[in-house]
């Protein structure tokens, strides 16, 4: 220890506050007294809390040991942890020196000289690196940029396929037989008026295909009634049946609810409402959906099973940039 520091007691003070001795306090300084008015009583309370914590831990261990039960586990360990923590906090608050203590705030900013020195180090010493070396700097910059681009290939492009035309197509084609989720074909006599069923094109049972192809089949009238949702779709609704894409044109949720009294389809996610039935081509009448649900043209084959006349005449589901206007 140098002579200089021995003059400053402790010699450790410089970090705390330069040129000041380490602060010293007498043990009966009021700052060092506990906050509690009756420390003995506070100590008792803390003791009880810590013991309760211990009991809670033990109780949890016992409950676990005999097989466990979520509620009892929750209450035993929960109460145990809480009491244990409360005891420790109370110990800190009521039995440790009450203070108030303080420390000084030192200026965060460096001196002007130090700032200038750092700026100079960056600009001048750093400048020496690129001065008259702009060619190297250029290569370094271009190289870094190219590296960034090529590293993005595996990070992005490897993730999956680019969309291509996949948004436009479903597996519904001319003559596709309508089947339910278990693959059973739908007969014209299967649904009562007011009934509904989710259908898929026969032969496509994977979850991926079902997510896109899902179609809601509803029956709004009895046999021999062709339901015409709009004049150009005169033959699309044979025997009171109508079929619409079940993928909401808003955010893609399944339009799951058919309200047969009001003849409306409702999407439970964001409450888009579509009018269906005679002269009602699933028009969006309420909520955030921007377009009607695409309609699937149906026909009844000679054995009485429902089939599609063709696929959807437009991309199903929510909008996207490449979607052409229809």
């Amino acid at each position: 220890m140098s002579d200089v520091t021995t003059d400053e007691p402790g010699g450790l003070a410089e970090g705390h506050a330069p040129k000041e001795p380490l602060p010293l306090a007498s043990f009966d300084d009021p700052h060092l007294q506990p906050l509690a008015k009756q420390p003995a009583r506070a100590e008792g309370v803390v003791g009880i809390l810590l013991l309760l914590g211990l009991l809670g831990f033990a109780a949890y261990g016992a409950v676990y040991w005999v097989g466990g039960q979520p509620q009892v586990e929750g209450i035993s360990l929960g109460v145990g942890l809480f009491c244990f923590g409360f005891g420790l906090s109370a110990w800190g608050k009521y039995l440790l020196p009450q203070g108030p203590f303080m420390e000084k705030r030192h200026k965060l900013a460096s001196s002007d000289d130090e700032r200038a020195a750092m700026a100079a180090a960056i600009v001048e010493r750093g400048g020496m690196m690129v001065k008259r070396r702009s060619f190297l700097g250029g290569i370094l910059g271009i190289g870094g940029a190219v590296m960034g681009v090529v590293l993005a290939f595996p990070l992005l492009r490897s993730l999956g396929p680019v969309p291509a035309k996949t948004f436009d197509v479903t597996n519904w084609h001319k003559g596709s037989r309508l089947v339910d989720n278990l693959g059973r074909p739908v007969h014209v006599a299967d649904l009562e008026v007011g009934g509904s069923l989710t259908v898929f094109p026969e032969g496509y049972t994977s979850e991926e295909a079902m997510a896109v192809d899902q179609t809601i089949l509803i029956r709004v009238a009895g046999p021999d009634v062709d339901v015409v949702t709009e004049p150009s779709r005169a033959t699309w609704g044979p025997d009171g049946y109508l079929a619409f894409s079940k993928v909401c044109t808003h955010a893609g949720c399944p339009v799951g609810l058919f309200q047969h009294q009001t003849l409306q389809l409702l999407c439970p996610c964001h409450q888009s409402l579509f009018n269906v039935g005679q002269g009602r081509p699933a028009t969006n009448v309420f909520g955030p959906a921007p377009r009607p649900l695409p309609q699937l043209p149906l026909y009844v084959d000679e054995s009485g099973f429902l089939r599609s006349q063709a696929g959807y005449d437009q991309p199903i589901g929510p909008g996207f940039w490449e979607r052409t206007t229809t």
């Binding site: 402790g10 809480f82 893609g252």
Partner: protein, 524 residues
């Protein structure tokens, strides 16, 4: 021996030297000496132990967030031991009989297994979910405290930005987390997230198919991708940002409310060691205890009731977790505006509430300190906090924003509200389309007015003391101040530097007393 409350710098240096030389060497001295010879820890370590943390209940909000994160990490590690992040289909034959024989993904099956077949698994799974809710909630409330007291002002703008980033990362990670079990409700949420990605002009369809590995539901890679984001990448970023958050807090020192002895140049409170450490460690246990109790007692996200995700199935009352409510509400009340033309479509009714709105929100939050500097012209350093009423304009703006997001949150339950109040969904929706903008204006104006009315009230930083009204035998009423509560005297002492040495502990001059027990008469 001085019993005065003045700062110890008045103590003579000879006393200090004497105290140092008379200190008995303890095992700690030798151990510390060994370490200090090699790492030089004594000086910095002691300064750290002397670090002052101001006391105020509202400073605990950030601690709740921190400790919820600790719980999230611990419970999350437990869950990863049993969760299978796979969309591969399997048929369930576990202990939960109602789902026996049902086809489902490995992710869903393993989540059901954690709930029923792993001992304490249900408690820890629910605790994890509760901890996430408490984490995000306490961040939000902590952020309100920072906002309304002006703690984001210079020099703390950077820490505000880190905090805002933490809020949004926490929300994103919460969404990823509750999507993992692949139940019917979370699967629907993923479906909506896909549509939101899809709605982005130019790149949307590329982004959606790349992220999902194909057209929704993709090639089954979304679950493992969400998983690695949820358990590794985002937690690592969040942990790093929390580290930066705390580093800046330590470097800049905590703000404090104005009060006796508190200035812009000091911090008044309890020292790090042992007072603050005891209190805050206890608080860690308390937060953990509450979360554990919630995990055991309060059912949350009972995935086994929802069933596995099937793309063509949907249930009634599909709501996301509460912290996504403001976005879902915005999605619901948005008019059906889709722009189409020139061979392209912009699904604005999804793009605005799903992408632009949260984007603008985060930008506004991040830049708020600078916006306020611009508006007020106040570029000075501040370490003393504002009372919200003293800054009526900021408080009014904050209250209006809270009202706005709260109204959006309420709008995410239009269907439930319509059902509950037996009114038409149409009425509820149109009401919200107006209310979302009207209520914040009213709230802002009211808050401004109330602040102005309250500005005159004093008692800054003083605890209220009850007043007894006493009736004498003659019927005369007098008021008597009640006895000071513990802690009242605390504020009346002049703050002192944390003593490096405490004199008299070894019995010399202590008259056999035990420190911390002998009472000293306080000044009134």
């Amino acid at each position: 021996m001085s019993t005065s409350s003045s700062s110890s710098s008045s103590s003579s240096s000879s006393t200090t030297t004497g105290s140092l030389s008379r200190r008995r060497s303890t095992p700690v001295d030798s151990g510390l000496g060994w370490l200090d010879d090699r790492l030089g820890v004594a000086k910095g370590g002691r300064i750290f132990m002397d670090k002052i943390f101001p006391d105020h209940w509202s400073f605990l909000l950030g601690e709740i967030a921190l400790y919820s994160f600790v719980v999230l990490l611990a419970t999350g590690v437990f869950l990863t031991l049993y969760f299978v992040p796979s969309a591969a289909q399997t048929v369930y034959h576990g202990v939960y009989k109602p789902l026996d024989g049902v086809k489902m993904s490995e992710a869903y099956a393993s989540s059901v297994n954690i709930s029923f077949a792993v001992r304490s698994g249900l408690v820890i799974r629910q605790m994890h979910h509760w901890a996430a809710d408490v984490f995000i909630g306490s961040i939000a409330v902590h952020m309100c405290r920072i906002f309304f007291t002006g703690a984001f002002r210079k020099p703390r703008e950077l820490n505000w930005i880190v905090g805002v980033s933490l809020l949004f990362l926490a929300i994103v990670n919460g969404f990823l987390g509750y999507s993992l079990p692949d139940d019917l409700i979370s699967g629907t949420g993923i479906r909506i997230a896909y549509s939101i990605l899809l709605s982005i002009p130019l790149v949307g369809s590329y982004l959606a198919t790349l992220v999902f590995g194909g057209v929704f539901p993709g090639d089954g890679s979304i679950i493992p991708r969400f998983f690695i984001l949820h358990v590794l990448i985002l937690p690592a970023i969040i942990a790093g940002l929390i580290g930066a958050h705390l580093f800046m807090l330590v470097r800049q020192k905590h703000t404090q409310f104005p009060g006796h002895g508190r200035t812009e140049d000091n911090v008044v409170g309890s020292p790090m060691f042992p007072t603050f450490m005891a209190k805050t460690t206890g608080f860690l246990f308390m937060v953990t205890g509450v979360l554990w109790a919630l995990g055991g007692l309060a059912q949350i996200n009972p995935i086994w009731q929802f069933g596995p995700y099937v793309p063509y199935k949907i249930s009634y009352a599909v709501q996301p977790d509460w912290y996504m409510g403001w976005l879902d509400g915005a999605m619901r009340i948005m008019p059906s505006w889709e722009f189409a033309g020139f061979g392209h479509t912009i699904p604005f009714m999804v793009f605005l509430p799903g992408v632009l709105f949260p984007g603008l929100t985060s930008i506004l939050f991040i830049f708020w300190p600078f916006i306020e500097q611009k508006l007020t012209g106040d570029r000075a350093e501040h370490h003393l906090l504002d009372r919200p009423r003293d800054r009526p304009r900021r408080t009014a703006v904050g209250a209006a924003f809270l009202a706005f997001y709260f109204m959006l949150f309420c709008a995410s339950s239009t269907d439930v509200l319509a059902n509950f109040f037996q009114v038409s969904l149409n009425v509820v929706l149109w009401t919200f389309r107006f209310v979302v903008f009207i209520v914040p204006i009213i709230v802002g104006l009211f808050t401004y007015r109330i602040c102005l009315d309250m500005t005159g009230v004093s008692h800054v930083g003083k605890r209220k003391r009850a007043v007894l009204i006493v009736r004498s035998a003659t019927g005369e009423y007098t008021t008597v101040d009640t006895e000071a509560r513990p802690g009242d005297g605390h504020h009346e002492l002049e703050p002192m530097l944390v003593p490096g040495f405490i004199e008299g502990l070894d019995g010399d001059g202590a008259e056999g007393g035990e420190p911390g027990v002998r009472r000293v008469v306080r000044r009134p």
